[in-house]
């Protein structure tokens, strides 16, 4: 059994069925890409896996490490080893990135403000964060800024991957991490993800475009259209989409080029 097992998952948003029974297994060490046109249900999939309260599971199962996660709150899923890089990271005023990262790390270690031996020390914290700043080309000063406040689109996405690198998940879901990124940012982000890639990490890349897959080679590619998988295969599926787009399923032009946001 794969580490993540999605079985016949059906999800609705505001009473409209978006995911119409999808199944997918992701094991550690594998990189899967889910591709699809706008409105196909890609973000619904990623948000549902993380437990966003706006998405209602109508049926099916999601098991992670053999455990039914659909009843778990997002924080419990995170502590279990799931990470979601958001498509639109949120601004939270007044809380520094430092404080955020430290609190998240402490939460993962079961530190609840009481047993100080569980808390990450300042020295260890630096050793966990600083190496990734270099790869992601993030200025150290970002850590003293408030969460995503005044960050450009690319900076937000890079900081998402920084959080991933620090929290070391076993399953990372990257929700359109490439959208709105200039080519340099895509390179930095991809380099960081490739560094983290390995036998202990499963990756689910959710994307509209094939461009990021040139930098992060997927092992499997699944095409999501209108809430169902219509095609699954190896990296060659991405090449097919690169050439033909989603025109076989929907009336949409080839997705190879993105209009930069």
């Amino acid at each position: 059994m794969a580490d993540l097992e999605i079985k016949d998952l059906r999800v609705s948003v505001e009473d409209r069925e978006i995911l119409k029974g999808i199944s997918l297994g992701i094991s550690k060490g594998e990189v899967h890409a889910v591709m699809g046109p706008n409105g196909s249900g890609k973000s619904t999939l990623s948000n549902t896996l993380m437990g966003h309260p706006g998405y209602k599971v109508e049926g099916g199962e999601v098991l992670f490490k053999g455990k039914d996660i659909l009843q778990l709150t997002p924080d419990a899923r995170s502590r279990l080893g799931i990470f979601l890089a958001l498509q639109y990271p949120v601004v939270v005023p007044g809380i520094t990135m430092n404080n955020f990262l430290r609190t998240a790390l402490n939460a993962h270690r079961g530190y609840d403000g009481k047993d100080k031996s569980k808390a990450v020390s300042p020295k260890e914290f630096r050793s966990l964060v600083e190496p990734h700043l270099e790869t992601l080309k993030i200025e150290k000063s970002f850590l003293s800024r408030y969460i995503n406040e005044g960050f450009s689109g690319g900076e937000k996405k890079r900081v998402e991957i920084l959080q991933m690198a620090v929290l070391k998940p076993e399953l990372a879901i990257l929700d359109e991490t490439d959208s709105g990124l200039d080519i340099d940012s895509i390179k930095y982000v991809s380099a960081a993800i490739n560094q983290l890639r390995g036998p202990d990490l499963g990756v689910l890349i959710i994307t509209h475009y094939t461009r990021i897959l040139e930098f992060i080679k997927p092992d499997f590619v699944h095409v999501l259209v209108n809430g169902s998988f219509v095609l699954s295969g190896g990296p060659e599926v991405a090449d097919l989409l690169e050439a033909k787009g989603y025109s076989e399923w929907v009336d949409e032009p080839a997705p190879a080029e993105e209009v930069s946001a």
């Binding site: 993380m50 437990g51 966003h52 309260p53 706006g54 709150t73 997002p74 924080d75 899923r77 995170s78 502590r79 990470f83 979601l84 958001l86 990271p89 949120v90 939270v92 005023p93 007044g94 809380i95 404080n99 955020f100 609190t103 998240a104 939460a107 993962h108 403000g113 408030y146 969460i147 959080q163 929290l167």
Partner: protein, 469 residues
């Protein structure tokens, strides 16, 4: 607690430390207020005749003045059932057993030392920090700074006292200012001479035998030309008192080129009506900053104000209010632009939770001829649930030309997207909410001395856990 080292204040503290108790009086505390009681208070304190007369005159004004018809409902205050003056020894009527459990729990969670708990709970009248205060006191004296309680100031600095007392907030200002002037006791008196910068914040706590937590304290601060002082009153720990009415008056004079910052953190127990008049007059190129945090009490009505008297004067109010279940925080600020080229800002942050209510009430007035003034008001309210409430009452009154007036108000709820984001990183719902609230008041917290900021964040955390009563 951001306080001096702790000394055990046990039952034998009187013998050990020499409790200040000048004479034995026949004065017997009575409920209600009469001219006789006032005369007795004044006589007992050994006050000059002018003060006795001022108290009596203020009492007459108090009786004539009506309760404010706006703001919180004050009609339930029973003025005849209040002790207007208690000697400190009589105040120790409370025993530790009588202190409510929720207050004790909060002390526990904040890690307040034993001796301090008794003081804060009204069990012990004295908080001893003489050792630390002594060296500070010497330094201040060398600089010519006067920092004492207000009763002592009347005795020891009569001329300075008489020159300023009641000039900023006269008894006729409002019913509660009249009441305070009639029955005031305790509070702080500070005089900073010309050009002197007091480089550490002066805290009410430093004073020995402090009565700074009295019901009707009276504070007077005079910053002479080019001087600077930062005064801090209160603390984040809950102050338990059986007195239901707290009505203080704070008067501040900031002369040319001087700067005064007055920081308040108040966390009265939730039976208290906290009705405070605070006002500063500011002269040329001088600055007054009110940093005002209100957490406890049942009702707070407090609008620190600044009168900008000469060009270049600057006024700031930065306030935070937290209203939980059954609480109404009616707070804000007033900026009165009397002279041209004066500037002011009011920043108000309020948080309502569990059905609590916060109101921002502000007044910006620009007098005729006070041209080229600038004022900016920003009030942000955060509601933590659907039962809680927040209102904004901004009044602007501009009779001058070329005035820049800005007003920004936001009311927001803790957003689901922010919560989801923080939780998706492993942070629990409660901790995520606490972080968002602490982030919301960060513009306030960052102005506090570090130890107060840490305590305030911790207190918010307790409030958010619902473990504070």
């Amino acid at each position: 607690m951001a306080v001096a080292p702790k000394i055990n204040v046990g039952d034998d503290y009187k013998e050990k430390y020499g409790f200040f108790d000048p004479e034995k009086f026949v004065f017997k505390a009575k409920r209600g207020l009469t001219d006789e009681i006032i005369q007795e208070i004044s006589w007992m304190k050994g006050e000059p005749e002018w003060m006795t007369k001022l108290r009596l005159k203020s009492h007459a004004i108090f009786l004539k003045k009506k309760l404010p018809t706006w703001g919180a409902d004050l009609s339930v205050i029973d003025f005849d059932n209040i002790f207007y003056f208690l000697k400190s020894t009589e105040k120790q009527g409370t025993t530790w057993d009588e202190v409510p459990e929720d207050i004790k729990r909060t002390f526990d969670k904040l890690g307040i030392p034993e001796a301090e708990r008794k003081f804060l709970a009204g069990v012990s009248a004295q908080y001893e920090s003489e050792v630390v205060y002594h060296s500070l006191h010497q330094k201040l004296t060398d600089q010519g700074v006067v920092f004492t309680d207000t009763d002592t100031a009347l005795r020891e600095h009569p001329d300075l006292f008489k020159e300023y007392f009641g000039t900023i907030i006269p008894p006729a200002d409002n019913k509660f200012a009249a009441l305070n002037t009639a029955v005031w006791s305790g509070g702080s008196f500070i005089y900073v001479p010309k050009g002197v910068h007091v480089d550490i914040p002066l805290q009410a706590y430093f004073r020995i035998n402090a009565e700074n937590m009295g019901q009707f304290e009276r504070t007077l601060i005079i910053c002479d030309e080019g001087s600077f002082v930062h005064y801090i009153e209160g603390c984040t720990a809950p102050i338990y008192t059986t007195d239901s009415l707290h009505s203080a008056v704070v008067e501040i004079i900031v002369k040319r080129n001087a700067r005064c910052r007055y920081t308040t953190i108040q966390n009265w127990s939730t039976n208290v009506y906290n009705l405070v008049t605070k006002r500063a007059v500011v002269y040329a190129d001088a600055t007054m900053e009110w940093v005002d945090g209100n957490l406890g009490s049942q009702i707070t009505m407090k609008y620190p104000s600044v009168y900008l008297m000469e060009p270049g004067a600057k006024g700031d109010v930065l306030s935070v209010a937290f209203a939980g279940k059954g609480q109404h925080q009616d707070a804000g600020g007033k900026m009165i632009h009397v002279a041209p080229n004066t500037t002011s800002t009011i920043t108000s942050k309020s948080i309502s939770k569990g059905g609590g209510r916060t109101s921002y009430r502000g007044h910006v007035k620009v007098y005729p001829g006070a041209n080229h003034c600038k004022s900016f008001v920003k009030c942000d309210a955060l509601l933590l649930d659907d039962e809680s409430r927040s209102d904004t009452y901004p009044y602007n009154d501009v009779d001058a030309e070329n005035v820049t007036l800005g007003h920004e108000a936001t009311v927001s709820k803790v957003s689901d997207e922010q919560l989801f984001y923080l939780m998706s990183r492993g942070i629990t719902l409660n901790e995520a909410e606490t972080m968002i609230v602490n982030g919301f008041i960060e513009p306030f917290t960052k102005e506090l001395p570090l130890e107060y900021a840490v305590e305030l964040n911790r207190l918010i955390q307790l409030e958010m856990e619902g473990s504070v009563g």
